[in-house]
């Protein structure tokens, strides 16, 4: 039996066999409808999400968890006037394990094996330190961060002392970000850049389960006074792809490219401190040997460079119930300039967030992001209305703007407002 199947089987058995001792389940179901705010007018999403999670505890040392998540966006099938049929196959349906693991807890030591998510860093949006789990960007990043992260199999060992924690990770199989396919509102506008050529991308979702493909990392975190510090490294395959031209390409009209993921090394740190209501967050990551895709004319290639990135954030003291954060991040490429990059080589983003919990648990959140390097912007609004103890209504919007040369400007057509209804189950 393959190790992956063994972990799955163990988790299922543990979560079921121990059910008589102590167990619970949580589930949520979402229904969401989104409407474009500009061209192409009309519906932008008709999506249903389901998440299920069962935990069982064999007190006090063993925990088994079994869960899954599934979603379906019907929009690509229902709007053939706007979306290419290939999106029905690539970007409209997903079912995958969610928290399927066995955990052993013994006082200061814990070992978790199976599908899980590990989150480092705590910056908003662009948390460069949050690099362990790949993400699903096919929906443009709308949704809860824990849903956007793809849960992958790993062994996660932690040794916890009062003020120091040591963590080790072993990931036997690399998994990669799921990027929007060509034609998706959130996709890079390949067709426009490549003079109207039809573009198809063969996705590489993972590499085989093999010792030579294994990824590994470690993190040391410490509380020194009120300073919350961590340092980490991760030797993994780049979660983002570079590309190579597929032999089936017929230039100049039909371009087929294959995603390629190469091994990189990440070193980073995080730091937070509360200065009497002013909460400072600082994160930095250096990624070595990352390959950046390029297009010159119709020639697809890539360039290898180091990629430092950092975020500085400040939470301001609560003012009339409003919580606010300002954050500045920079992500750039070192070495000689690269021609034909698909991204802006030096990205700086200024972000401001304001949130308030209103009376009776209504929640308001506004996030404005502005790229100081390419003048693109993103405006996000979320308003949550509790409709019962088990349900909530979320109203939101995400508006992209800027010149076509900017990263946000390229996906301006994805701008939308949405309504989401969520129901929670528990037992």
């Amino acid at each position: 039996m393959k190790p992956k199947r063994l972990v799955l089987a163990l988790a299922v058995v543990a979560s079921q066999a121990t059910a008589k001792l102590r167990y619970n389940y949580d589930a949520t179901a979402d229904a969401r409808v989104a409407e474009h705010t500009g061209d192409p007018y009309g519906l932008a999403s008709e999506r249903i999400d389901i998440r299920f999670q069962q935990n069982a505890t064999v007190a006090p040392h063993w925990v088994g968890a079994f869960g899954f998540s599934a979603w379906n966006d019907f929009i690509y099938a229902s709007r053939p006037d706007v979306y290419d049929h290939s999106l029905v196959e690539n970007d409209s349906l997903d079912v995958r394990p969610r928290n399927v693991y066995v955990r052993f807890d013994a006082n200061r030591f814990s070992l978790t094996a199976g599908y899980q998510q590990v989150v480092w860093g705590e910056a908003l949006g662009t948390s460069y330190a949050d690099l362990v789990n790949p993400r699903d960007y096919r929906d443009g990043g709308i949704g809860d961060p824990s849903d956007i992260r793809l849960q992958i199999p790993m062994v996660n060992a932690k040794l916890v002392f009062e003020n120091v924690t040591i963590q080790g990770l072993y990931l036997p199989q690399p998994f990669f970000n799921l990027l929007p396919s060509p034609g998706n509102d959130f996709a890079f506008p390949y067709s426009t850049v490549l003079n109207g050529a039809s573009v198809r991308i063969t996705r590489q979702e993972s590499l085989p389960w093999a010792a030579s493909n294994a990824e590994y990392g470690a993190r040391l975190s410490a509380l020194l006074g009120s300073w919350d510090l961590s340092a980490f490294f991760l030797n993994d395959y780049d979660r983002d792809p570079s590309y190579r031209l597929d032999p089936s390409t017929i230039l100049p009209s039909q371009i087929v490219v294959d995603e390629v993921h190469t091994r990189v090394r990440n070193y980073g740190f995080t730091l937070t401190n509360d200065f009497g209501g002013f909460l400072l967050r600082l994160e930095g990551v250096m990624t070595e040997d990352r390959r950046f895709p390029t297009i010159i004319g119709q020639t697809l290639s890539s360039a290898e460079r180091n990629n430092p990135a950092y975020v500085i954030g400040l939470d301001l003291p609560t003012w009339h119930g409003f919580n606010s954060t300002i954050q500045w991040s920079r992500n750039f490429i070192t070495g000689d300039p690269v021609s034909g990059l698909l991204r802006t080589p030096d990205q700086s983003l200024l972000l401001a967030r304001v949130s308030r919990t209103l009376f009776l648990d209504h929640e308001l959140e506004l996030i404005e992001s502005y790229s100081t390097t390419d003048r693109g912007s993103r405006s996000q609004l979320n308003y949550m209305i509790p409709t019962s103890k088990k349900s909530e209504l979320r109203l939101g919007g995400e508006i992209f703007a800027g010149p076509f040369s900017s990263d946000f400007g390229k996906i301006e057509r994805a701008s939308r407002v949405y309504v989401l209804y969520r129901y929670h189950f528990h037992g």
Partner: protein
């Protein structure tokens, strides 16, 4: 340079010396015993937010060690289930299942309704505030000692508090909480006491917004249990379990 240091020292010490007195501190220590047991413990706290005729209920499990480590886990309503707050001394982290990571936050952020994080996490005024007796007042609850509490540092929830303590038994009666500007933020009325863990404990508090009197939150404390916790239970790294 030395004289400058001496001047700074005098300026720093003088206000503290003038705003605190030992009688005030004694009253606060006695009143704190009703607000939190002096052993490691767990309790269940129900918070009912009231806005006119509309009511919402939140329930939390609270675990506390040495009055400096506190872990709060929300268990109701279901849409908020699994949210956790961890306090280590004056540092606070929020864990939310939909983000799946601990995020550092400040004490003054609101937990629900009129209840700030600090209202639930820090119940020991003696650790956080200097106290001075400012007089005696007769309230409907009886004769009280009126105290003025001033924050010992910037990490606490409120800048200052007017605090009324029952003169005969040292039970807390009422408190008015102030912002740095001196503006009143809210009023707490300490309403019920029951014997829990061998002594009378505060079991009901009503918190009212200073400006909008129809905005109220009532906190009910129940299921007091003496516990023995390892420090690692209050680790930030354990929040995601």
């Amino acid at each position: 340079m030395k004289s400058l240091v001496a001047l700074f020292t005098c300026l720093a010490v003088f206000p503290i010396a003038s705003r605190a007195d030992s009688k005030g501190a004694d009253w606060v220590v006695k009143a704190d015993k009703f607000r939190s047991p002096d052993v490691d413990y767990s309790i269940k706290v129900k918070v009912v937010d009231i806005d006119g005729s509309d009511k919402r209920e939140n329930i939390f499990n609270v675990a506390s060690k040495d009055n400096r480590l506190t872990l709060v886990e929300q268990i109701a309503p279901e849409r908020q289930r699994g949210r956790k707050l961890l306090m280590r001394d004056h540092d606070l982290w929020l864990y939310s299942p939909n983000v799946s990571r601990p995020t550092r936050i400040s004490f003054e952020q609101k937990l629900t309704g009129e209840v700030s994080n600090g209202d639930l996490m820090r119940t020991n005024f003696a650790q956080d505030y200097d106290a001075k007796v400012t007089g005696n007042e007769t309230l409907p609850e009886g004769k009280t000692v009126k105290l003025h509490l001033t924050a010992k540092n910037k990490d606490v929830t409120y800048n200052s508090i007017d605090y009324w303590v029952n003169e005969s038994n040292a039970r807390p009666v009422k408190a008015v909480f102030y912002a740095l500007s001196g503006k009143p933020l809210k009023t707490a009325n300490y309403l019920e006491f029951k014997v829990q863990l061998g002594s009378p404990r505060l079991t009901k508090v009503q918190i009212t917004d200073a400006l909008q009197k129809t905005h109220q939150s009532v906190m009910y404390y129940a299921s007091f249990k003496k516990e023995k916790f390892d420090d690692t239970y209050f680790s930030k790294e354990s929040l995601s379990k």
